[in-house]
Symmetry: C2
Subunit: 456 residues, 2 copies
């Protein structure tokens, strides 16, 4: 093969620096997940197709990567079906497995399959890759990690409170201070739709409202009219377009709009509980903000809806989101298991931290010291020191070949190794080590014990 | 869907305890990899099919999971080809991508693709899942992790030495003391084949020799005869069957067998270098042992061959292996890049640690304390303490619902949570916390500060 190899579009190789930075984010998130009492699970990369298909809508079904059956897979395809040469119809006959599309459906499947081993409420987290046959574009990949924390088996609003705290704790630990945690409630959106006579147009209504930020009030109204929402209803929405002030004052404006909707009032009550608790408990660096235009994945959420935006001044859509769903496991036959969960958008968080220069410098350090190789006897003495350093937890290595010193120094330089250790004839004779700092050029002659101390 | 959902055969769900135990092993291995100067990379789960196909032999090609192209994939299939209904012939027309089969070929692809960004020698490690459409059986899965460390770009034998040390360091850190690191060299096997006149039957010869442990000397000889190796040659092998004693004495016996083979003598020289260095540097808990019957993946290895067996008394094939390969990247057009590497068999290591009861107890601890929920005001006071504990790195949680106390205690019990904290009316009034140890039943009434100290 003469041409340079490549990888499939939408996928990525990660070099050591990128892996270190990604792991830094994963580790901070994991640590907070665990301190909050969430426990990790892992599910297989591929599921039976019938576990995934039909769970994400028609578009989702198309975006699921299917795995070809092994062996003589065509022999099992019905002759008539085969002769139609119809990709859609034939797929289920030649593919029984598919790559995970998200972590939520596999989690629901896990809960139902293992329900007898699980103590409810079950607080689980899961950090694994997912795959989507989406058109690749800037910031959108065909393989990417999801980072989810969910609790299933309780309807307590304390969990909604806890997820606000969890977002605050994670972003504070990542030094991403000043994120905004936007919150809404499906019941408020339903209540508004009810009040303006658009119960049957809830999706159209929320899709339009969701665009308020981007297209402005007039265009939103036009879109609603176009979707058949009556002018009289849209007029009732007016106070919504100018909601402002504190969480509390916005809630009181909402109350007047929703005074005739039981569901709307329930939504307000839930929001007030969460806001009151968060006010009393306090957040470290994040702000909780009511956003009645927030609708993400509405079909799915039944109560609270969250979305996190990056600190002001960083242009980067949402870096996290989630909400309450009342019947996650129903699709697999286990009814009445309420759940609530959030996720973290790793790739975007990475970009935000990178753009704000907030990755700790230490995480990309490789080895602390490279021993220069001056020949076999010197190398053996070096390896003894390397071994002692490693046993003391110091990352060190010997350059494997007795190449020109300048080449070995260049190697240390290019790998950003901060120190070299020289063991030549004189050091061999005196049983010492010359430690040279690569940036300052300073040299010290040290015993092994001193060397270990200097590098620890 | 009424029936209980399941997962594809050969795949696994991992519950929180299993994830914790697996991560413990991964973390110990990673830590040692990094202390030895290896850097992590990650490659995509799927590669272009032409990157993988043809690299693992015919059987390997069959075991590679292929991903079906998206969209109307049949429309691009040639009509004549389609009408043949031949699975083998059609696959490359409907599938362009395939799941990673191992970490070695993607690593070779990575090195060639990124050769201009890499400093050689390049010490990389990679811990990622691989997929094989193998018939699932006990201990063999269709999705499993590989854990590889390799150095490419140097032929120095110090690297062979370092990998012996790395195995020793990892298994010692895992408290798996007493593993045997068996070593051999492809050049010795070639030399023996040369001496007995079976150069052209190297594979047959080594496959037979490899079975010595299992089928015994006579059967091995029979098999060699059957494969056309002359009796006169087999007679020359006699000393091989009774090789014994220390590494050094075995080497000296080998020397007499191989005195007429240049390649064989080179292999002995290499082994002696490694043995001498390891003897001088010392191993912590492992033993290095010469095993001339060791041949694993012979087509592939060109120098040292390693295999690690579990401590005596544990019946569990090899738990690691590796070796030197002189032309890994040649398949992608980059010649003369020598490499050497080892891998760790995670699933088997897990079973060995489990069977010897060597997992540290602390790794499966979940939360340190569950706060019992006695109602809204009590819950709020509890959440303030939970927050303070978490900020001090103590994992704690509030039971989300005000259920019967006995149910909440049961929950703590079943989740192995070692303490519960009671905040009832009297604690609320006195601003204190009752900490109850779940196993001893001991109770203490504490201030928040005392509670944090007690649980830290």
């Amino acid at each position: 093969m003469a041409q340079k190899p490549s990888i499939p579009k939408g996928t990525r190789d990660f070099n050591p620096e990128e892996v270190a930075k990604r792991n830094y984010i994963f580790n901070v998130i994991k640590q907070q997940f665990e301190v909050f009492g969430f426990q990790p699970i892992e599910t297989p990369s591929f599921e039976n197709s019938d576990t995934l298909m039909g769970k994400y809508g028609e578009e989702g079904d198309r975006l699921i990567f299917k795995i070809l059956n092994s062996g003589d897979y065509l022999s099992k395809v019905d002759e008539n079906l085969y002769n139609q040469k119809d990709s859609n119809k034939i797929t289920s006959s030649i593919s029984e497995k598919a790559l995970r599309y998200d972590l939520t459906v596999p989690f629901a499947r896990y809960v139902v399959q293992h329900q007898n081993e699980i103590e409810f409420p079950f607080k689980r987290y899961q950090i694994q890759p997912v795959w989507r046959a989406d058109r690749p574009q800037k910031g959108r990949f065909r393989e990417f990690y999801q980072c989810d924390a969910d609790v299933v088996g309780s309807t307590s609003l304390w969990q909604e409170v806890e997820f606000v705290q969890l977002y605050d704790a994670v972003f504070t630990a990542l030094k991403l201070e000043g994120v905004t945690i936007k919150i809404n409630n499906r019941k408020i959106l339903s209540g508004i739709a009810e009040v303006i006579g658009a119960q049957d147009k809830l999706i159209d209504f929320t899709v339009a409202l969701d665009k308020l930020d981007k297209i402005g009030e007039e265009k939103v109204k036009e879109e609603m009219l176009g979707k058949g929402i009556p002018q009289s209803g849209i007029d009732k929405l007016q106070p919504l377009f100018s909601l402002s002030g504190t969480f509390e004052s916005q809630v009181s404006q909402l109350k007047s709009i929703l005074s005739t909707s039981e569901e709307g009032k329930k939504g307000i009550e839930e929001l007030e509980f969460i806001d009151k608790a968060i006010t009393e408990l306090g957040l470290k660096t994040a702000t909780l903000q009511l956003d009645v235009t927030l609708a993400r994945g509405l079909n799915y959420y039944t109560g609270a809806i969250y979305e996190v935006s990056a600190p002001k001044g960083v242009d980067m859509g949402s870096i996290g989101g989630g909400g309450r769903y009342d019947d996650l496991t129903g699709i697999f036959g286990l009814k009445d298991v309420s759940g609530v969960g959030i996720s973290f958008g790793l790739d975007r968080i990475y970009l935000v931290i990178e753009s704000l220069n907030l990755f700790p410098e230490t995480i990309t350090n490789t080895v602390k010291a490279l021993f220069i190789n001056f020949g076999e006897a010197e190398a053996m003495a070096s390896m003894k020191a390397v071994k002692a350093l490693r046993e003391n937890g110091v990352s060190a290595e010997l350059f494997p070949d007795n190449k020109k010193t300048i080449k070995q120094f260049n190697y240390a330089n290019k790998r950003n190794i901060p120190n070299v250790v020289l063991v030549g004839e004189s050091e061999l004779a005196s049983n010492t080590f010359t430690l040279k700092n690569m940036s300052s050029g300073d040299q010290q002659q040290l015993t092994l014990e001193q060397l270990i101390k200097a590098l620890q």
